[in-house]
């Protein structure tokens, strides 16, 4: 088991390393560099030459990659092109904000989604299932910016219960984001609950129609005991992976929500940096998001392995 874990960890690290090379080469291939972005219209002649000299941009790409990678491993992502601030600090604050948003949405969404998924699965084709499943489809298909706007209209413009936009600065402590964060959390929860609910529902239906549930029924096991002891531990296994993907999505892929609510998260910073042509920051964020993807998927696989006796013993026997 430990060997398996170390092995997966190693493979994960290799993946991140390969992704970092791709990111670096991608940025490298773009026309312009940190200096042209920083100097803007003055980026020519001596001034550009000097800047490149100062930034070490004249060195070969391989050397610069090694420098960058070595720094990244130690937590130093270099300095931004605009303003020459430490990227680690800039991104750190935004990552913290994104984590806060993700944590709140997960805390609300995952239990809700699993609960509703189980309810719809068990009462398949009954009115409650039809209602919830239809709502889930709506939540999934309506674009986030539309539902966000509708919620702003409802809760902040008409009812005036919640602030419609985040005004707290990026570096503020987590507590200060309340209650501003609630509306974005609500929108994210809606979307992700819909996804997880539908997956849990089909998984529950499949397991409940399975042979071992029929066997438990014919063994005289009371219904709720079947649900909790025989069915759910099996039905919820696939949910682990879906939740993992959702986490990765929440940390790097919710730009639209961040823009609509003016939330200072990682995704918005990425967009801002792209439009500012601040390539070192873009590069850093891309690397962080990739690492998060690899990390959560790795944790999900390991969790599944621990939770599923079939996989667990398979790897323990393989020595």
């Amino acid at each position: 088991m430990l060997r398996m874990f170390l092995r997966r960890l190693f493979l994960g690290a290799v993946t991140v390393a390969i992704v970092s090379i791709i990111i670096f080469s991608g940025v490298e291939m773009l026309p312009g560099d940190a200096c042209t972005a920083f100097l803007e219209r003055e980026a020519k002649g001596k001034l550009l030459e000097n800047c490149r000299e100062a930034q070490g941009l004249n060195r070969p790409a391989v050397e610069r990659y090694i420098d960058w990678a070595a720094g990244a491993v130690q937590g130093n992502l270099g300095v931004s092109a605009n303003g020459q601030k430490s990227i680690s600090e800039l991104v750190g604050a935004r990552l913290g904000n994104s984590l806060l948003l993700a944590a709140c949405s997960l805390a609300l969404g995952v239990p809700l989604a699993i609960f509703l998924g189980v309810v719809t699965g068990l009462w398949r084709d009954k009115p409650i299932d039809l209602t919830l499943s239809t709502m889930a489809i709506f939540a999934m298909t309506i674009p986030e910016f539309v539902s966000a706007t509708v919620l702003i209209l409802l809760f902040s413009v008409w009812l005036g219960w919640l602030p419609g936009i985040v005004l707290t600065p990026a570096h503020a402590p987590a507590a200060e984001f309340f209650p501003e964060i609630l509306l974005p959390v609500l929108v994210l929860t809606m979307v992700m609950t819909a996804h997880i609910l539908r997956m849990v529902r089909s998984s529950v239906i499949e397991v409940m129609a399975g042979d071992y549930v029929q066997m438990a029924t014919l063994k005289g096991v009371p219904y709720w005991r079947i649900v909790f002891r025989h069915a759910l531990p099996n039905a919820l296994l696939p949910a682990i992976n879906v939740v993992a993907l959702t986490i990765a999505w929440l940390l790097g892929g919710v730009v639209v929500i961040e823009v609509v609510f003016n939330y200072p998260g990682l995704g918005r910073m990425m967009i801002d940096s792209i439009s500012d042509r601040d390539l070192p920051v873009v590069q850093a964020i891309a690397l962080i998001v990739a690492t998060v993807y690899v990390g959560v998927n790795l944790s999900a696989d390991l969790l599944t392995m621990i939770a599923n006796p079939r996989l667990r013993t398979l790897h323990m026997r393989r020595k």
Binding site: R7, Y212, L218, K219, G220, P233
Partner: protein
């Protein structure tokens, strides 16, 4: 308590079809099971036998509903009980042993937890003694090391062990009656024989009533007193086991008997052509009319009642007096014996195959793996026009060898030679088209091997286009011709696999193989997924094609009788090693390798007068022993340390029969003759 344990009265079960009409799955079933009696329910897939067994527990699968009638277990109507009352009866007084225990045990719960759950729900055993009682139950079903099994998960047990756990779980509630839904289907012959003996003993010791549902008349013959034959959702015949299996009065039961291949008969089984009507399609007449040799006008217009005959059996037929006209023995074709002309079709030289491929990780680190190969030391020469049967239990490597010949699994060592001297590339991608064409493979399950989105025409045209470059009218004509050859006809071309019955699908799979005009056809358990009546038809077809085309077959099956029906020569495999090889007649007769002896002894004949002999334990071995004889751990004729340490030599007789054993052939012959005399 007097009266029947189980009283099923006029039960009809059905579902609502797409058109809104109610389609019956069970029609007016009347059935009583007495205290301590064991009743067999026989029928082909779709006959409603499993639905009937589950209905006896007051349970219907999703979508089905009780249309009429009542089911009473010890006087209690099962369909009017509350959920709590049913929970008390199910698993308590009335227990089920399911078909596939591997899937019927909850994968995330340990065996102990599942067994103790049954004890907690249904026994008076106090909680503190649950573990001890569970251990005792596992011991009663003859599982070795019950203590250890309690802490295992279901997937860590073999199929036979899982089935025993299911039996133990059913016994936990000390039931009055056991329902068994195909409890040995899918198990190896030896395991099946052991489980059946166990069930017989348990039922006798405890005086339990049993309802044994199976398509396997051999198993029924072994455990049942009385048999009910079901067809298209109704009972067509009922009688004692002897009446039903020896000389049944219903033509369907006779046809079924004739379609079973038997060890003692050189004829091919007789196919029962056609298929049962789908629910709701039975019409006004007898549901068997389309497949019946005795059918007359009366049978089409009127549905016969289940009537008692003077002998005491019940049959749903107007012409039971003429039943003798339908043969119940195998008067089918005699398998063609094409004298192999001596030319070599395929040669396997010292073939070894290992499933364990070094991982990328190991290869990067330069580690090698010194594990015992899955299949090893296979030396076989197949002559042109010959059928070589490969038999052995699951895990014996028989399908693995086929995959290697087909190029789907590169061997670890050795040579595969086509015809006289054409070495075959190990990987299918590296083979020239001509080699690909000459070797064709037919898979076990046509549902998996035929693309469900392609029409039969598309499926057949692929090899024709690929190997012969046919197009247009020529392509069409050739497809029709091939379909005719497998007795399907051109009107099947536009159909999709889902519109065909199981037997028809397998014929398409055979047709696809023959479309390439192959020299060698590899048949991997081609009849295992089919009903017996359909199996007979496929065997007959393969035999006919062999006669017409002179094709060489390598025929893999776990069913010894099926292999015998078709093979000229048979090779017996254990743990990926050859034990015995020779002409079919000689391999199936003594003297034989101790493993062959064990296998043959475990075969169940559909005859109440025969009994299997269980010579060896049905322990499942996961990997072959590192040295010595592969069969050393289970061998009933083990000599001693020599079997553990030295690879046994081949003993060969003049007519090409070879046995690999430390015993001399004469010793085996003497020992086995002595046993037969006892």
């Amino acid at each position: 308590m007097t009266g029947p344990v189980l009283d099923i009265r006029d039960v009809s079960v059905g579902f609502t079809g797409k058109s809104g009409a109610t389609l019956p799955v069970l029609r007016n079933i009347d059935l009583q099971v007495a205290e301590g009696e064991s009743l067999g329910i026989v029928g082909e897939s779709g006959s409603g036998k499993s639905t009937l067994a589950l209905a006896a527990m007051g349970y219907l699968k999703r979508g089905l509903r009780l249309l009429d009638g009542s089911v009473a277990f010890r006087g209690q109507d099962m369909f009017s009980r509350t959920r709590q009352e049913l929970e008390k009866i199910r698993g308590g007084e009335l227990a089920l042993i399911p078909q596939n225990s591997g899937q019927s045990l909850t994968p995330t719960l340990r065996i102990g937890a599942q067994l103790i759950e049954a004890l907690r729900l249904h026994s008076a055993v106090p909680g503190a003694e649950h573990v001890a009682k569970a251990t005792e139950l596992l011991g009663q079903v003859r599982l070795p090391d019950p203590q250890a099994i309690l802490s295992r998960f279901p997937h860590e047990l073999s199929g036979g062990q899982q089935q025993r756990v299911a039996v133990a779980m059913a016994l936990a509630g000390e039931p009055h009656a056991l329902l068994l839904d195909e409890p040995t289907t899918g198990l190896d012959v030896t395991t099946q024989a052991h489980i059946l003996e166990l069930l017989r003993d348990i039922a006798r010791d405890r005086g339990m009533a049993m309802v044994y549902v199976s398509h396997d008349l051999g198993a029924i013959a072994r455990v049942c007193d009385r048999v009910v034959v079901m067809y298209a959702g109704e009972v067509v015949m009922e009688g004692t086991t002897r009446q039903v299996l020896k000389s049944p009065a219903h033509p369907y039961a006779r046809g079924l008997l004739a379609s079973i291949p038997r060890l003692a008969d050189r004829h091919l089984p007789v196919a029962l052509d056609g298929r049962p009507p789908a629910p709701g399609d039975a019409g006004d007449g007898c549901s068997f009319v389309d497949r019946c040799a005795l059918a007359q006008d009366l049978c089409r217009s009127q549905r016969p009642d289940l009537t008692a005959l003077p002998t005491g059996e019940l049959a749903r037929c107007f012409f039971t007096d003429q039943a003798d006209r339908v043969s119940r023995t195998m008067s089918g074709a005699v398998p063609v014996e094409i004298k192999p002309d001596g030319a070599t079709a395929l040669q396997l030289t010292d073939l070894s195959i290992s499933y364990h491929q070094p991982s990328l990780f190991d290869r990067v680190l330069g580690r090698s793996d010194a594990r015992v190969a899955t299949v090893d030391e296979i030396d076989v020469t197949v002559r042109r026009g010959e059928t070589l049967g490969l038999v052995g239990e699951s895990g014996s490597g028989k399908s693995t060898i086929l995959k290697s010949i087909a190029g789907l699994l590169p061997p670890a060592g050795g040579q595969i030679t086509l015809a006289q001297s054409e070495a075959l590339a190990t990987v299918v991608e590296n083979r020239p088209p001509d080699h690909l064409r000459r070797i064709q493979l037919v898979f076990q399950n046509p549902d998996d091997s035929l693309n469900p989105r392609q029409t039969i025409a598309e499926i057949l045209e692929q090899p024709l286009r690929l190997y012969f470059g046919l197009t247009g009218q020529a392509l069409h004509d050739r497809s029709v011709e091939i379909l005719d050859r497998v007795r399907l006809g051109g009107h099947y071309l536009d159909r999709l696999p889902s519109q065909l019955s199981g037997g028809e699908k397998q014929r398409v799979a055979v047709a696809r193989a023959f479309a390439a005009d192959p020299e060698i056809v590899l048949c991997d358990e081609v009849t295992s997924a089919l009903d017996v009546s359909v199996q007979a038809a496929v065997l007959d077809l393969l035999n006919e094609l062999k006669e017409k085309q002179g094709t060489t077959y390598i025929f893999v099956s776990h069913d010894l009788a099926v292999v015998k029906a078709l093979s000229d020569r048979v090779a017996v495999l254990y743990q990926g090693r050859l034990c015995e090889i020779g002409p079919s007649d000689q391999v199936y007769a003594t003297p034989s390798h101790p493993y062959t002896e064990v296998l043959l002894g475990a075969v169940l004949e559909p005859d109440p007068d025969t009994a299997p002999t269980l010579a060896a334990d049905d322990v499942v071995e996961l990997s072959p022993p590192a040295q010595g004889c592969p069969f050393q751990r289970r061998c009933p004729r083990k000599i001693g340390p020599i079997c553990d340490s030295e690879t046994p030599p081949w003993h060969q007789t003049a007519d090409g029969h070879a046995i690999r054993c430390h015993h001399a052939i004469t010793d085996l012959a003497a020992a086995q003759a002595g046993q037969a005399a006892e």
